[in-house]
Every structure is written in C-alpha cells, then in structure tokens.
Amino acid sequence: MMIVPAFNQVDPASNVLSRFPMALNIFLQENFNQWQSTYLLILLATLALSAIILYRRYRSRRLLVERIAELEQLSEAGGAIVAAELDVIALCKLIAEQASRIIDTTTFQIGLFDDELYEIYYWSIGGQEQTTPVSFDISEKSGLVGWVRKSKQSLLVRDFQKESASLPATPGYINENPPRSAVFLPLVSGAQVLGIVGAQSAQPRAFSQKDLGQLTILANQAAAAIANARMYQQERTKSEYLELVSQIAHQVSAIYDLDELLNQVVELTNETFSFGSVNIFIVEGPETKAVIKASTISDLKADSLIIDAGVGLVGTAVATRETTLSNNAREDDRFLADAISEETRAEISIPLIVDQDLLGVLDVHSPNMGAFTSQERTILEALAAQIAVAINKAQQLEIQRQQSWITMAQLQVAESLSQPSDIEDLSQTLVRLTALLVGSDKCALLLWDKDFTFYRVMAEFGIPTLVENSNGHFEINLGQWRALDAVHVGAEQLTTSQSPPWSTSIGQEQQQVFMLQPMVAQGRVLGVLVLEEFDLLDAQEQGGRSELLQNIANQGAQAIDNIQLQMAQQEEAWVNTALLQVAEAVNKLTDLNEILDSIVRMVPMLVGVRSCVVLIRDEAQQNYRAGPSHGLSEMGQGLLASFEVDLSEFPLLGTQDVDRIGPDAAYYTFKLPDWMHTIMDSETADIFPLHARAQIVGTLVVGPTLNGRPLSGRRLNIVTGIAQQAAVAVVNHQLYLESAERHRIEQELDVARSIQASLIPQQPPQIPSSSVATYWQAARQVSGDFFDFMSLAEDHWGIAIADVADKGVPAALFMALSRTILRTVAFNRLSPAAVLERSNQLIYGDTTSDLFVTVFYAIWHPESKTLTYASGGHNPPVLIRQDGTVAMLSAKGIALGVLEEVEIAQEQIELHNGDLVVYYTDGVSEAMNEDYDEFGMERLCLVARNARTGTASEVVEAITAAVADHAGDTPQFDDITLVVMKYE
C-alpha cells in the first residue's frame, strides 16, 4: 500500500523522453537515402505513428519494468530485514545495508528512543562505521531527531544552507563540516516512534523525494522488525531473568538449613541482579514483627534488626501483604532510613507468602532511582515466590526434623521406660532421660505416696543426693511447696521461681526457674518431674521441649502406674498368701489357744509391728480376758496374765461403740488406758474387733509399727483379714464347745435313757388267765413315768404305774429311786396301801428334792380274781367290764414324797372274764391337740370300751392310735405310759 503513493511521487518521464529522440534520429538517418520523398512522407507519417505507438508501449513497458525492479529491490530489502535475526543491533546494521542500495549511506544512522535517551545502534560517518550503541540525552535539546519523533513525519532537507530558515527545528549538533543535505525518517510501530533513520551528505540535493519514498517503505518495514526484535529481546531478558530466578531457586532448593538458605538467597540474588543490598526478614509472632535473618550487608547479623508491622517499606509489606515499592525512596514517606538504606535511592519490599501464610519479606535496595521497573518488580516477585516456597520447605523440614527428633527421643523414652521393673530403677532412668532429652542440668523425680500423703524424692540428676530421712527418702508434704501443691491439685505443667524445699537444705541461693511437670495416669498425679534452670528464652524450642517433657512424663506415669499396679498385685498376692498361711494355721490347729497363739506370732511378722495381743470377750462374765500375746515385755506378759477387764472398763470395745463407728470400721486407733499402756509399752494401739455372728467375740490389739508410721493400707488389709480369721476361730471354738456340750449331754441322756429303759419291763409278764400289754413313751429322752410288774408270793402279781412330777433327768433319777424303793418295799408285802405308805416314808427321807411321785399300785390274784389296789395320788385306772360297764378305780391317797407320813386307802374289786383294766399316766388323758383340747377321760373310756373285745395289745394300739390321732402334729408334751390288763 505504501508503494503506490511512493511510485506516484516519482516522475521518470523526462529521462525517457530525452533518450528516445536520440535513437529515432539514428534510425532515420540510416534509412533516409534509400527512399523517395513521397514515399518518404507516407513512410515518415507511418513511421511517426508507429514510433508513437511503439514509444507508448515502450514507455509503459519501461515503467512496468522499473516498477517491478523497484518492487523487487524493496521486497528484497524488506525480506532481508524481516528474515533477519531478531537482534536490534544486527537488525540496524542490516537496515543500513539495505538502505545503501537506495541512497548514499556514507553518513548514516539508525537510533532508537529510550525515554529521554536517544541510542544510536548503527552509525556511519563518512563511510567509517562508529562504535555503537551510543546514547544521547535528548531531554533538553532534541533537535531534528526530536521533531521527527514528535511529529512522526519524515524530513527531507535538500540543502541546509538554503533551507536553514524553513527547518522545523534546529539541528541538534554542529560540526566542522556540516552536511548540506539530509533525510530523516521516523521508525513508526503502531502509535509509537521507536527511533530514527537518518542519512546526511556533504553534497546538496543528495537525496531526492523518490529516495525518501523508497526509504519510507524500508523504514516502515524496519520499524516493524525493530519492534519485534525489541519485544523479543524484552521477553528474552525476562526469560533470562526468570532463568536466573529459577537458577537461584534451584540452587537454594537443596539447602535445608534455613539460615544457610537465606544467606544463599541474598548472595545469589545480589550476584545475579546487582541491584544493591538484598535482605530477608522473617515474620515472627502473629505477624507483628519482621526480624532480619539474612543480608548482603555483612554487618547486619541475623536478629539484629526488628521492624514492626506498618513501619517502613518492609513493615508496610508485612501489614498489607503486598509488594511495596519506592523508586524515589528519599522522597517517600514510608522510607525508613536505617543501616540498610544509607545509599538507597530505590527500595522494593516483597512479602514472602505461601498458602496465605506470610513467612517474611524480601527486601532489595538500589542506589539508583527508578531501579525497579515493572519488569524488575515482576522478576523479583517471581524470585520472592520461589524463596517463599524454599523457606516454607525449610521451615517445614525444620519442624519435621524437630518432630522426628522428638519422636526418636520419645521412642528412646519408651524403650528405656519399658525396661525397669521397679520404681527405683525407673525413677533413675526417668530423671536421666529427662535431663538429657529435655536439656536441663538438674532434674528430680517426686513420687506421690498415697498411703502417707506426701511426695518422696525418688531420684535426682545434677542435684547432690538429697539428705535422706530415716525412711530413706527426702519427703515433701503438701503445703510445704506451694508450686508443688498447685501441680498436685491442677495436674498441669507449671513454671515457677519458687524454690523447692531441698534448695534450702543444700544451700542454693541464687534465683532459679523451675519447671514442674506432673506425671498423670488414670487422672491421678502419680508424681512430679522438677527441672531446674529451665531455659525459657526460645519459645519455639521451648514448645518442642515442653512437648517432649510432657511425653516423657506421660510415659513415665504409665510405667509407674504399671509398676505400682504390678506391685499392688504382688502385694495382693502376698497378702493373700499371708492370709492363706494364717488360714492354714487356723485350720490345722484345733485348739483355740494354739490358733490364737500362732495368729499373734504371725501378725508382727507379716505387718512389722512390735506386739500383738488377743483379748477374748466373755459374755457370761461380762469381761475381757487375755488370750495369747506376742512381743510383750516380761512385765507386760506378767500383767497380761492376770488381765481380766470388765466390759465397762474397756468401753471402746463395747458393742455400742462398734455401732457408733459403723459396721465397716475394721479397726481404729485407740489411746490406751494406763494399765494397757504398760502392757503394750505404747500409748496407742490399733484395735481390730473380732466380729462374728453379729457380736464381738474379742479383739486383736496391735502394737506400734517398727517404722513408727501408721499401718499402711496393705498391712491394714492383712491385719483385718487375720482379725476375721481369729474371730471365726473364736466363734468356731465356742460353737465347738457348745456342740461338744450338747453332744455330751445327749450321750449322757442316751445312757440315762438306756439305763431307764432297762428299769422298765421289756416284756409284759406271763400272768395266768391275764394278758398284759404296755406302752411307754417319754416326751424327752428320759421319762418320769414308769410301770412295773412284780411276781409276789402265792401267785400274786404286783402291778405299778407311776408318774414323777417333772420330766427330764431329775425326774428320771427320781423315777429310778422310786422304782427301786417301790420294788423293794412291795416284795414282802401283800397290802398295796402298806406298800405305798412305806415307800412314801423311804422316798420322803431319801430325797431332798422337791419332787414327788404319784403311784397306783395293785396286787392281782388271778386265782381269786381279786384286784387289791391303792393310789398314791395317781389318776384312777379305768375298769371296763365285759358288758361295757365303765368304772374308775379310785382310792384315797396322796402323792409320795410330799408328806412324811401319809394315810393311803386300799380298795378291792373282783374281775370277771373279759374285763379289762387300763392303767395310764396323765400323758394319755391330758394329751392335747393344737387347740389345747385334752384327749380326756371320756375319750379314753370310750376308746377302751369300744376296743374291749380285742386283746390287751389291741386295746393299747387303739388307745395310742386315738391319742396320736387327737394330738395330730402337736408335739408330745408329757410322758405317755399305758398298761392294759385283760382277764380271760
């Protein structure tokens, strides 16, 4: 498009015309002599016409050829330019080369603008190529170049001498041989003038309008090429910078130590970009302070400069999290004049951000104003991003390393703590590990003794071994060290400057910081680790150490808990074994005294007390008497031998006091009265009541422990267990005695019964014409009832039935006495009344007891069928005649053994065939049912009457059956004796 106007500007006509007539003349002269004038004219006219036609054709052809040649030339030049390497200097040289085909380029220049600078990239003066590039400041005096730049128009000066007045601007320079003519063309790319192409000549009119046209085409193509080259170069620079950035990033990426990383970053950045000082700040705390960590300024050490957020460019970058830039720092309000910035004219502070986290600030200074263009900014921001990632990585790695170190330390702790099986070893291991891993010079382990409620120093490291008390350890009671109290209650880590009690005891004076770390398991504080000189300065490191300390404490607590549990189990097993031993001893021995003796010997052995005494409560005597004892002085033993204390004198052992203490009170400490004090040789003793069968059967008095401390839980358990066994032994013994007594009595009664039974006729006698049946049943083992048959003189038979007024053994004895007397008296007497009267005398005189006996005594003489009888106050027997008539065999008399002299009446009846006499004791007539309804005489008579046709045995059976039927389940209250005699 540009070619067309340029082509129009050129007018080649005059040149062509001047040559054409000359050629025609030669042609005309060669042919003029051969032709006649007429023909000549026609020929001439034809020739002239042809010539005109030819000329026209030639001319157009010529123009076309020229135009094509020009186009080819320009196209060649443009192609060379466009195809050229995209390097501005080389490109400019190429443009100059191409321009030389069009014009005289002896003095020629191609320059480009950079703000107020005009930089010449190709310069030839008088055929001599100058060293390029050369810069000229055109801010004040821009000359023709400035005009061209501004107007974007080309300028053709044919002759400076003639046209100097009409020039649009004053030429920028004057030398000794000023040019006569010049041409200037703007290099226009888009709306921007990139530079100037200019040619000068010492000859006037050296450059034509046509040259200008052609140069314009070339310039336009050159401008496009230069713009491209520039853009390419910028991109290349940028990519080169980015390459550098990536190189820096790559170089530092292998550095994991944060300090080294930061130092490398500042050095490499400085080397690569050469701005000025490079500094890196790391943000610490909650984004409030930027702390210098690395700087190219050697005097500026890490941590030596701290900048608050919002202060200076760095602080602003921290506060806004955005790149903060000042290209004219001295004029900037935000600029902070400090050690870094003495020569600073420009500064850029770029926040280092990873995943929203502000890590720090990359701060670059430059002594040159305007040093940080958007390009630098972009590059540095890219660098900052890479640095931020590297820092983050290093920080993460540092944390990981810290973590892995802690993990390793924790593993070490776990391994170490899994080994020891006793508290002492474990404690030693714990203090060493703590001191080593946590990094404290001094460490002590305090263990809580839950039995005696104090802390015991179990192990110490770096502290002189603490003064041991009589129990082998340094003890700290609650209330003695307030910091410890707080940890004991709160179970939280605590830092204090309050010295532990041992500080005074080993004469430490200077102020210290102590860390108290509770060891908690199952929610209980088992112990406390105390660290001295615990360094609190480094918060981050402190965190790690604190975590580790906590971990050691947790694992230690777990280990202690395990060991304590194990110990508790062992102790429990030991207690059980001890109690089993006692139980075995108790079971093996049968004698209570031996059992109690072995118990009082075992108690001191098992629980470590000086002495032990058993007191046995005697319910009958309402007192305590001494049982076996052990560990008493001779005097104590002597005093104890005569020990017999009324229950009221030992009130605390009374049942009411047990009620007061409560049924669960296994023991209580008792302040002994003086006499007991002397026996036990102690002011106090532990009293373990022997409970059994809901009563107190005695007490175990346990003297003071050998170590002077109260009995611990384990020991209390043992003694309580032993007390229970002792109580069982005492009760068993009582039961044994009681049962032995019962057994003895029963045996005696059995003997008595067999003796008594032997006194009773085993078989009814064989009395002629009579059948006799008997029944004898005692209410208890022995009876007061008896009956007897005596074969008397002259075929007389004595029949006696008697009832001693009582039951049981005394009655049985009285019965035996009475029977013997009756038998003795009866043998030589045939008068029942006389027998009873004499018997009464003997019984009365023979006994001092209040007993008496009722006796019915009859003498039966079958031959005469007479029954003579007398009654010593006995129930009258029933006579049942064969015809069913019933009569009572009453006779006046009185029970034997009451009065010294008695009068007994005597009666006589005659029996007939089939008559029967029923002798009985009141056990029969008064046998009662559950309604206190007596069997009664009426029923007795009726039953006997109904049964009268049967044998004597059948009558007995009928009566006993009726009595049993009447009584039902009511226990037999009285002895039952029945004698039935039937006359047949």
Binding site: A805, D850, G873, I894, V898, D974
Partner: protein, 110 residues
C-alpha cells in the same frame, strides 16, 4: 399366764395367778414367790380362781413353795380352786397337803 401380787394384813401376800399352770408356766410364779420368800414373807395365799389347768409340773411348783414357807415357819395356802383343780388336788391327795379355801375372804376370815 399372768401373776399379780398384793399384800394382805399380817405380812401375808396374796398372789393372783391366771391361765395354765404347768411346769413351763409355773417358773414365773416360782420366781415371784421366791422374791417374796427372799424378802422374808413366808405367809402366802395363792388365788387359783383364774387357773383352769394344772398338771404335775404346776403341782410340783406349789409343793416346792409350800415346803419353803413351811421351813421358815410360814405357810402357803390356796384358794379359789375350780372344780377341775379341786378334782386334781383330790386325786393327787394335795387337798390334805395344802390349806385350801374357797376364796380370799374365807381365808382371811379363818
């Protein structure tokens, strides 16, 4: 069984007994009487009008007490025996041992 005692003129105590008088129940009576004897009262009148039953145990108790009072020169008299008790006393022959009155007033008037 229940026992009441009240003094009568002339250092005599009237003991009222009610219920059944057997060897088990008579223990209480024996204790009461023993107390009086221990206190030096040896003239006793036992009112048996409320007693509906007596057996050999009860009789033994009365004999024991009778003997004790007699040993101290006193006496144990009975009164208010119902028909059944009268029969028992008659059978055992204790109507000859004890002084038996119809009731307290007949005792006093004697």
């Amino acid at each position: 069984m229940s026992i009441q005692k009240e003094p009568l003129p002339g250092e005599i105590w009237l003991i009222g007994v009610s219920g059944r008088l057997d060897q088990n129940q008579s223990l209480e009576l024996e204790i009461t009487m023993q107390e009086l004897v221990d206190e030096g009262y040896f003239n006793l009148l036992i009112d048996l009008s409320e007693v509906n039953y007596i057996n050999s145990g009860g009789l033994r108790c009365l004999v024991t007490l009778w003997r004790q009072t007699r040993q101290h020169g006193g006496n144990l008299a009975l009164c208010g025996l119902n028909s059944r008790l009268t029969e028992v006393f008659s059978i055992v022959g204790f109507d000859k041992v004890f002084d038996i009155y119809d009731d307290c007033s007949s005792f006093q008037s004697s």
